[in-house]
């Protein structure tokens, strides 16, 4: 199987995000960056599938030279080769999906796995656009039925189940209030939810091997994609500061307040 996975460079959720005073963006100085956690899960799932069925994992990232660090990280986790779409400047979801579509047409994977969203803009759109434009089936919010303490998780068994004829993939999806299982024809687009797997750490030998793995460079113009954004961010603002909580004297008052004031029970 050939699996294409994404690795977007995002701000490390551990770092403190501050909005610029003029609201045009966030303060980037001193920030740490990492692979979008949902994408890390996509990389992991790709590696597990390939360990089981053979094949290769190709990781793609869009951005300036700095995204090499995320590509190299995915390669250190075990991905086989990387595609770098060299683009700086604003890009909206359709721009990303359009670029990925071209990469898919070029690489011809059996399966594309992406994070359901990236933790910076939280849009949750790229996988859906991509599947639509490719005319492929899509299974979003892939999850798994078992807990992270299960034997399967320990043994890094993939949660996505590829049919014996290699023509379908079965995906457990996270939906409101439960799980839904869908079967999708291959090739397909799958987006990952948090409970799909626990991604591996990049090992030291993996880091060394990653040094000699290829990173292919592509440019949007060369791919024939017009990435002019149809959507622009006009203003960013910090969330309102949390109001101070209140102390209640006993459980009875707490229950009362939850009923009458918060109206949650």
């Amino acid at each position: 199987m050939k699996i294409l996975v994404t690795a977007k460079r995002v701000e490390d959720p551990e770092s403190k995000i501050k909005v610029k005073p003029d609201g045009t963006g966030i303060v980037q100085e001193g920030l740490k960056y990492k692979i979008n956690p949902f994408d890390e899960i996509a990389v992991e799932e790709g590696l597990r599938l390939v360990a089981k069925h053979g094949g290769e994992v190709v990781v793609v990232s869009i951005g300036g030279k700095e995204v090499h660090e995320q590509l190299r990280h995915a390669l250190a986790m075990g991905a086989h080769k990387a595609v770098w779409v060299n683009h700086t400047g604003p890009l909206d979801q359709m721009g990303v999906a359009g670029l990925l579509q071209k990469v898919v047409e070029k690489e011809k994977p059996d399966l594309v796995i992406l994070g359901k969203q990236s933790i910076d803009d939280d849009q949750n759109q790229v996988g859906q656009y991509l599947a639509e434009w490719l005319g492929w089936g899509q299974a979003t919010f892939a999850s798994k039925a078992e807990s992270f303490d299960s034997e399967n998780e320990k043994n890094k068994v993939p949660a996505l189940v590829v049919g014996a004829d290699n023509k379908t993939v079965r995906v457990v999806r996270e939906v409101d209030g439960g799980l839904a299982t869908v079967e999708c024809q291959l090739p397909a687009v799958v987006t990952t939810d948090l409970r799909l797997n626990q991604p591996r750490y990049a090992s030291l030998p993996g880091i060394m091997k990653a040094k000699s793995k290829p990173i292919e460079e592509l440019i949007p113009a060369g791919l024939g994609v017009d990435v002019t954004p149809k959507l622009t961010v006009t203003k960013m603002s910090a969330p309102p500061a949390r109001k101070a909580g209140i102390k209640v004297p006993d459980v009875a008052t707490l229950v009362e307040k939850l009923k009458t004031e918060a109206k949650v029970i």
């Binding site: 090499h68 090992s203 030291l204 993996g206 880091i207 060394m208």
Partner: protein, 381 residues
């Protein structure tokens, strides 16, 4: 000049940080309280390649450099000094002596299992009666026919009880002192070899420390590590490199002390202000930051020299001396900033302070480092 870590080292740092956030940070306090060696976590670090950082790929290691060891050890020490000491001593002492001075047969036999952490390495130089004066050792190895017979006691040996492979320094020609010392490999379970755990340490409590007793332990000549009479000279080279790593460990503790202090001082209020508003504390943290960064620069310089085949004895001692004293000052300030809470096990800073003290003692005390720095400086003056 470039002060950025190489990309591979940044990935290594991120990977270890995530591992520690999840697998070390929530448990370090309990391991310390119970003097519990975290076998499972060490095994997992082995799977990540952290137990064979310097071991070449052909022997199953990661084939990385001294800078990588420094980065890894600093990162682990930021969460747990004891675990960092396990990683530092395993990589830097036991495994390195075999890696650097072992013959091909010894490397093939031991390195693959040491590099994955399946076996833990220990290194026995210190004795009950000799530490700083390491060449004043009493342990002897006497050649009888085909075998060497070892007798003596080694003291404060890290991985002493949990270790599988022990590098033991012994006198083979006592009158020659420094030039009469030879290294041997002793395996756990060998006849006449007993390990007695040492409990009740001030810090580094979940690192395993033991006394080793050798009573007529017989090893073949193939267990001799390096040339006869060369053991002490080789040992000094191992210590040079090990000191960079202890420096990195101290930097990790100092950094942890600072990060915890910043967090706490923003939350704790007194006189209607977060205590972080008080200049007295802000200046403490300014000093902690400045000194920690300076210490890291010394550590990375020493690693750079080692990795580029340049002399680094003095620079390694400077890094170790400065970083361990910085760690003591920073951890002491961190306890002060935490007030009464800092004096309890509720917060990690008292543990960092206890752990930091070892850095001024192990692999050569601060006094010995100053002697080395002075000796090396006068040599070229």
């Amino acid at each position: 000049m470039d002060f950025e870590l190489p990309e591979s080292h940044r990935i290594l740092q991120a990977s270890i940080r995530e591992f520690c956030e999840k697998k070390v940070k929530p448990f370090a306090r309990e391991w310390d309280a119970k003097e519990q060696f975290p076998h499972e976590v060490v095994r997992e670090l082995g799977q990540l390649g952290v137990m064979g950082i310097l071991v070449k790929e052909e022997y199953g290691g990661a084939g990385m450099d001294a800078l990588a060891v420094a980065v890894a050890v600093e990162e682990i020490a930021r969460y747990d000094g004891s675990l960092a000491l396990t990683v530092a001593s395993h990589n830097g002492l036991g495994t390195s002596h075999i890696r650097v001075f072992g013959n091909e047969e010894q490397r093939r036999k031991y390195l693959p299992k040491l590099a994955t952490g399946e076996w833990l390495g220990a290194w026995g130089l210190t004795e009950p009666g000799s530490g700083s004066d390491a060449a004043g050792m009493k342990t002897t190895a006497v050649k009888k026919g085909d075998v060497w017979v070892l007798n003596g006691t080694k003291m404060f040996i890290t991985q002493g009880t949990v270790g599988h492979v022990f590098v033991i320094l012994a006198l083979t020609d006592p009158p020659k002192r420094q030039k009469g010392i030879t290294a041997f490999i002793v395996e756990r379970g060998q006849k006449g070899f007993t390990q007695r755990p040492i409990h009740g340490k001030l810090g580094m409590r979940s690192s395993d420390t033991a006394e080793l007793i050798l009573e007529n332990v017989e090893v073949p000549d193939s267990a001799r590590l390096g040339e006869v009479g060369q053991g002490f000279i080789d040992t000094l080279k191992i210590l040079d490199r090990g000191r960079i790593t202890i420096g990195a460990l101290a930097v990790g503790l100092a950094r942890g002390a600072l990060e915890e202090s910043i967090r706490y001082s923003k939350e704790r209020t007194a006189f209607g202000h977060p205590i972080a508003d008080f200049q007295a504390l802000r200046w403490m943290m300014a000093d902690m930051k400045t000194e920690t960064d300076a210490a890291r620069l010394l550590v990375h310089r020493a690693a750079y020299l080692a990795d580029h085949g340049r002399p680094y004895t003095r620079e390694a001692s400077m890094a170790k001396l400065f970083a361990s004293e910085v760690a003591m000052r920073a951890c002491n300030k961190a306890v002060q900033i935490h007030g009464g809470y800092g004096y309890t096990r509720e917060f990690p800073v008292e543990r960092y302070l206890r752990d930091a003290k070892l850095c001024e003692i192990g692999e050569g005390t601060s006094e010995i480092q100053r002697s080395i720095i002075a000796r090396e400086t006068f040599k070229t003056a």
